[in-house]
């Protein structure tokens, strides 16, 4: 465990830079201000309005983008500056490196996303149920996204760009226009989980909540497994 926590603490230090934290906190503040405006407009169905906002802004933008920024940097930064060798050349199971890096991305991303979204849920008039659903779905979503994006950061040079292409083009456009494609979108499972917990009907959220949670947990495991596999196979500079 000492090794795992050492890797975790080190990667957390790598990714949690002042610049990133300030920029991404701004995303949360912007969301809270929009939520405040929604709440102040006295919507006829405040729970539905709040849920639509949390789904449209929180789950669709904040969760993937903030996960992407931290997760691709977790091992990607070390690949970029050729310092991965100092983690790789150790008698340490590479799954600990993968797990430590992924956990660091989770721990940094979760408060930056969940805290402002829960505040936003209340500000928009969603109440305790929507706030709870937000906490649960956003946390699961971040865990799934981070697990996958750590692997992408390790594998691809411009991982941030590829990740944005996936989030904005695939999930934001293609997956929304075809049911088959939506099954290959993490977004669908997060929104389905959120919709189920909040007990609000949303579009692009047609999967059973339990199945959605199971898929998100499997994606976490698959992402860490993929990162471990890539670490074992990759050529290290």
């Amino acid at each position: 465990m000492k090794v795992f926590f050492a890797i975790f603490a080190f990667i957390r230090g790598v990714i949690a830079t002042k610049g990133r934290l300030i920029a991404l906190t701004g995303m949360g503040i912007a969301g809270a201000l929009i939520a405040l405006a929604i709440g102040a407009s006295n919507p006829t169905d405040p729970i539905r309005s709040a849920s639509l906002f949390i789904s449209g802004y929180g789950m669709t933008l904040m969760v993937p983008i903030i996960s992407l920024v931290f997760a691709t940097a977790a091992l990607g930064n070390l690949v970029e500056d050729n310092s991965l060798v100092y983690l790789w050349m150790r008698p340490t199971n590479r799954s600990l490196v993968a797990g430590g890096a992924t956990a660091a991305a989770w721990v940094v991303a979760v408060p930056l996303v969940v805290i402002p979204l829960v505040i936003s849920a209340f500000l928009a008039g969603g109440g305790g149920r929507v706030a709870l659903a937000t906490t649960f779905a956003a946390t699961l979503g971040i865990m799934a996204y981070c697990s996958l994006f750590v692997a992408i950061g390790l594998r691809f040079k411009r991982a941030l760009l590829w990740g944005l292409v996936y989030v904005l083009i695939w999930e934001g456009t293609v997956a929304r226009s075809a049911t088959g494609a939506s099954r290959l979108s993490v977004q669908t499972y997060i929104n389905s989980a959120f919709s189920d917990f909040a007990n609000v009907n949303l579009v692009h959220a047609d999967i059973d909540g339990t199945v959605a949670v199971a898929v998100l947990i499997m994606l976490c495991a698959a992402g860490i497994g993929l990162t471990t596999w890539l670490l074992n196979r990759r050529e290290v500079a």
Partner: protein, 304 residues
């Protein structure tokens, strides 16, 4: 069983042959990998550490394949060539992390000892990003020594060090070699390698060009044909004397004051040139070797 063994090892990057059918073994003591830039030294060291797999052939460290065994990493300390470190950490944090990842029982004490060995303070809390190149190099060496591995691999470790630090490092490597460690050091500087006074593997164009004791390699290099340019007021007369005395294999007058000489005994030639000039009362203003750089030496060894 040798500590390190390469058997018919080749490495290709697409059409480029970086290392070609290299076979050697390395045991305890200091071994220098000598070759010009781009000769394939770093690729050999990277294969040695398992950082990249060979395209063909077999690499073994202590009888194990370094590419597929994380356990073998306990026995290796690597100082890579690249400059990147964990920039936000202090030297102590960086070396302590290495000690933790090596499962050492007291990582703090191990880190302090390793840093002291390279003359760095473990109390220095500045991040390594603020360190000079020489200090960064020493941090890299400290993390490689922290777990006392039997095999220490250093890729151009003296780069960026000042003369005093170089001397200290050479002394450290030699003392590790004498203490029974297997120290593999790569360099493209012949004089640097001379100071290791070690066994040498000469790598040129991805091939093992020569192998042996430093002095044997040095003799081999000195015995090769050399071409020299002599600026003198009497090129014709001086050329005649050098040919007559058997000091030159051939001479060519290049201009009113320039003579090109081919010799295959450079040491004797340098000893006798003054006597030959005196004999014809010639004034020698310049004597320059036209092929005394490492690349030409390596080329000769490869073509030999």
């Amino acid at each position: 069983m040798s500590l390190i063994s390469f058997s018919e090892v080749s490495k290709f990057f697409g059409d480029l042959v970086a290392v070609s059918e290299v076979t050697f073994t390395i045991d305890a003591g200091v071994t220098a990998l000598l070759g010009p830039n781009g000769a394939g030294k770093s690729t050999i060291l990277r294969m040695m550490c398992g950082l990249t797999p060979p395209s063909s052939g077999e690499v073994q460290l202590l009888g194990r394949d370094p590419r597929h065994s994380t356990e073998v990493m306990r026995d290796i300390g690597l100082v890579p060539q690249q400059d990147g470190l964990f920039e936000h950490q202090s030297a102590f944090e960086f070396v302590r992390l290495a000690a933790i990842l090596h499962h050492l029982p007291n990582p703090e004490a191990a880190a302090r000892e390793a840093l002291a060995r390279v003359e760095l303070s473990s109390d220095d809390t500045r991040p390594v990003s603020t360190f000079s190149k020489g200090m960064r190099q020493r941090v890299k060496i400290a993390q490689a020594l922290v777990h006392h591995p039997p095999i220490i691999i250093l890729d151009e470790p003296l780069t960026g060090l000042d003369p005093r630090q170089r001397l200290a490092m050479v002394h450290l490597f030699n003392s590790l070699g004498q203490a029974g460690y297997c120290v593999v050091v790569s360099s493209h500087v012949l004089d640097e390698v001379e100071r290791f006074g070690s066994r040498i593997l000469v790598i040129a164009e991805g091939r093992l060009a020569a192998i042996g004791d430093f002095h044997a390699i040095r003799d081999l290099m000195d015995d090769r044909p050399h071409r020299l340019r002599i600026v003198t007021n009497k090129p014709r007369e001086l050329g005649g004397v050098l040919l007559g005395a058997g000091q030159a294999m051939s001479v060519r007058i290049e201009g009113p004051e320039e003579l090109l000489v081919d010799t295959n005994d450079i040491i004797n030639f340098r000893t006798n040139i003054a006597r030959a000039a005196l004999q014809v009362e010639a004034r020698v203003e310049e004597l320059a070797s036209l092929d005394d750089n490492l690349e030409s030496v390596f080329r000769y060894l490869v073509e030999r």
